[in-house]
Amino acid sequence: MRELVVLMILMLGGSGVLGLYEDQAYKFDWRKQLIGKVEDLEFLAAGVDTAILVRTQKNVLAALDSDDGKLLWRHKFEDSAETGKILAIGRLNRNVVSVSGSSNIFLRLWEPLHGALVQEHFIKLASAPTHAHLVDNNLHFVFVKPNGMDIVTYTFDTKKFTEGSHKKVSTETTEVEKCVGLDNLLVCSTPSGLIYTQINSKEPSKAEMIPVADIQGSTLARRGTRIQVENSAGSVTTFKVENGKLVKQADVTNMVSECPGVEVKQECSEWGTDAEGNKYCAQYADNILTRFKGEETTVKLASYRGKLEAVWSECGADPQAYQLILAFQDGGLVSVTPRGNIMFTREEGLTSVHKAEFVNIGFEDKSSTFGPLYLHHENMFDPATLAQNFINRMKRHILQLREFISSLIQLKFLEKNSAATLDRFGLNKMIVIATEHNKLYGMESISGKLMWQLYFPGRFTSAEGFESKSQAYLLIQRDGRAGGEAQAVLIYAHAHSVHHMMTFDPLTGKMISNEPLNMHLDQALLLPEFSDHEIKPILLVGKDGNVAVHPRAAAECLRSGPPLFVLSGPTNSKLVGSKVVPSQEGSGVSLVPVWSLVTPSTEIVSVKTRNPIERVHSAGRVLADRSVLFKYMNPNLALVAAQGTDSSAKLFLNIYLLDMVTGKVHYSATHKKVLGPYHTVHSENWAVYSFYNEKARRAELVSLEMYEGKTQTNATVFSSIENKVIPLVERQAYILPVSDVRALKETVTEQGITSKHLLIGSAVGNVLDLPLHLVDPRRPPLDTPAGMREPGIPPYIPELPMPHESIMNYNQTILGMKDILTSPSGLESTTLVFVHGLDLYGTRITPSKGFDLLKEDFDYIMISAVILGLVLASYITRKLAQKKMLTKAWK
């Protein structure tokens, strides 16, 4: 037992103190609590203020403050649409009602002020309803059947729940797309028009039909006392209920809201035609027009948000006062006063991050007169380059000194210059985010503040795997460090056209160009930087095998540079490696397939290569007997995970360590009876992957490490083709303390000196910061004598610990976590972390503690006093000693 205790101490002590002090909470991190793109909204009179009750696409039920849009409470239901999807929200007396699920329905009543659960009713339906509609204490389910519609009505209150009536409605068509309820009328859209029926009458009836030309069924919506639907050209048709009948209103062609007489309109400022000749709105107007009692007001939006999708309003007691809430295509929720002023804005598009990248802002102040000063990295030890770099540096320092003196003369140093707050340690980076709601955001990593946003007319489908990846590519061609303009490219599938390439400045959000690619894109790759080119070129691979390099001039570099291999066309069960062959003349490039790997009856779920910016500090590790074991660090190695179904209908996972240049499989392993999600991390000479073990019912993490052996073949250059080393693969499996892993990531630092940590994000919403040596496959058996153990590696215990102080986000739960991003900062000790999901969270962590940072409570006064005192004392003693010597000499 004693050994175990020692072991525990070793494990805790060896990992360093990870937690924060109490006063450090919220100091280095920030969190944004979001709710998702709003689908339905209701105003609630809760207490003194009105609150807004919303249900969102992310299965969230939330209440917002109607004045400033702040979150009062929220409940995130299950992720899966089957159990978590919110079908309807409503009010019953003082409570809030939500209906969620599909065939198993939960009807829940909530207290509106704090969101406490008052009552829960469970309903088991035979099948999932097409539509659920709440009217006071009646809940109607609509089932679309081949011969018509079935409407089942339930009655409920805070205590009881009773099944009411069944009703059959016969319809002419069965292709019902969307239904909405308007009090006692049920209105559904079909390809040829709208059908409607009375919902509360008990006798069977026939649905009545109102034809609407060119109907866009999915736009059917209830707005106050009206029903509105759009046609494919975007014009609105309005219907009103009169004596239980739906009547078309020819005079209302704008979006209307609950408040009588309020109309909202968004013009289309530019029309486009797609490949099939259909007209669509290419650009909506920036400004929204509201009309109330014949008076038009313009609402100016700070940024372009795409199409206005929904409008809700609340009329106060004063007929002139109303509050409008507008929901836009980009997920933005904007609240507007009658005068057109904006009350609050919520960026809910950030809940659907598709791609995100850290971009270095750079140390230099762009507005200063220094100008770009390049540091030549290639041939660092060439005397000429060294001299050039040195001269550049001296020039820069002289310029800085001159600037400082001139600022002293002009007494400008007293001003709080924004450039001065530019962090010297590179702790602030720009996080560029592309969302699935067609928006690009630039966010400061240090504060989470949105710096810019940019709309793009993209299209995202719910495809998975490699399909979803090819929907948009965010490639950073040049960051702010070089001094010049930063440049990034977003390649996206245009909503009405082929793939487009948008070039923009990732630091300011300024769009440089937006042009269609004349190819059916299969994948886009960022090529490495070439010596004589300052921006990273992009390789575009078409579905037909066509290849292009952007910019075109970069083809020249390809010819002179080292041979380039790409993984082309990863389909579900095939990998093909190709050599990029630039043509002898011109800017043409072609791909020659050189290796292939087929994994029949399995599906490749991920291909993970090493982070291209990663640097490795040491080439080997010291063993217990002081000899060195050299790491096998193949930069071309990738960890490939493939999933398949075996003969007993259980899933299995195949793992391959594959050289992407030669196509050689260095190691392969299979795990039987597993479940997803699978997460992989590959870095330096190690890789880890996690999966759920269905048989043992636990999440497992497997750690692999590759070693060359006791000798190193070639220390300077690595060539996959020439290298004949077969790596030794050390492997070990561990039991994870979290059963539902959502994200797995390694920390990365500037020079790779700092030890690595693994960040494990769980479904509960915490991120575990696990030192990598705990998952080292070389952890010795428990009974190994102390002398035989390698330094710094604790003995093997199958379970990984989860001490509370190593939860990176302490009590700041991150709901609906999707992924973790890490990036090195300018300080070697510090890694920047960005976690996204329903919430966004940014922080910085120091895996080996802040060894290059002064402590926060560092006592500057004390230190200066001591130094000053020492100088003074030495001066005085010198004087005294001189005096003594003098008197001695006189004697």
């Binding site: 050689k664 299979t670 083709i721 199958p798």
Partner: protein, 188 residues
């Protein structure tokens, strides 16, 4: 019903291939980065043994290999793979032309097998530089295979056993507390 079961059995047996099933490679090679392909011959691999039937290289082919080596080019190989009489597909691999020349045209084809011993891919590599490098009339080919191993599992048994042993010993009370005085009473 019987026929259905039989059918199931047949499909099952075809899915689970024998580990020592024959693999036949119909090799083709290219000396001009895939523009033209020439037949190289057949190589068969059965239960760990390689039998090769490769064509002799013509003078122009040897010349092509030599020039390819001079310009640092790649020697491409593709093969129609047949396993247990069934076509598995066209697989590609390559190696540098120079390594082939320096090894004296001795090469190894590694078959990557999956957990059902099906061929996933082939990998061509030249042998280590030999004492008599140069061009030969035919390739001397060896086939090796690399299979999939079962992935590691957490070793809980040993750990639990150790914990229980520890517990039993403590219950018996025959574990002498040989900690030092300080370790016994000093809690920090």
């Amino acid at each position: 019903m019987k026929s259905v079961i039989l059918l199931l059995l047949i499909t099952y047996s075809s899915a689970e291939l024998d580990s020592d099933s024959d693999v036949m490679l119909e090799l083709e090679h290219s000396f001009d980065h895939g523009d033209t392909w020439q037949t190289r011959g057949h190589v068969t691999w059965s239960s760990g043994r390689t039998s090769a039937d490769q064509l002799t290289l013509g003078d122009h082919q040897k010349q092509a290999l030599k020039t390819l080596c001079a310009e640092g080019g790649l020697y491409l190989l593709r093969s129609n793979v047949q396993q247990a009489g069934q076509a598995v597909g066209l697989m590609r691999s390559y190696t540098s032309a120079c390594s082939l020349v320096s090894s004296g045209m001795v090469d190894t084809i590694t078959l990557s097998l999956d957990h059902r011993s099906r061929v996933l891919g082939i990998n061509l590599s030249a042998a280590a530089p030999s004492h008599s490098p140069g061009l030969r009339d035919t390739f001397k080919t060896k086939i090796v295979s690399s299979g999939v191993e079962p992935g590691p599992v957490p070793d809980t048994a040993a750990y639990i056993q150790r914990l229980e042993e520890e517990k039993r010993r403590q219950e018996k009370g025959d574990v002498p507390d040989n900690r030092s005085f300080l370790a016994k009473y000093w809690m920090y």
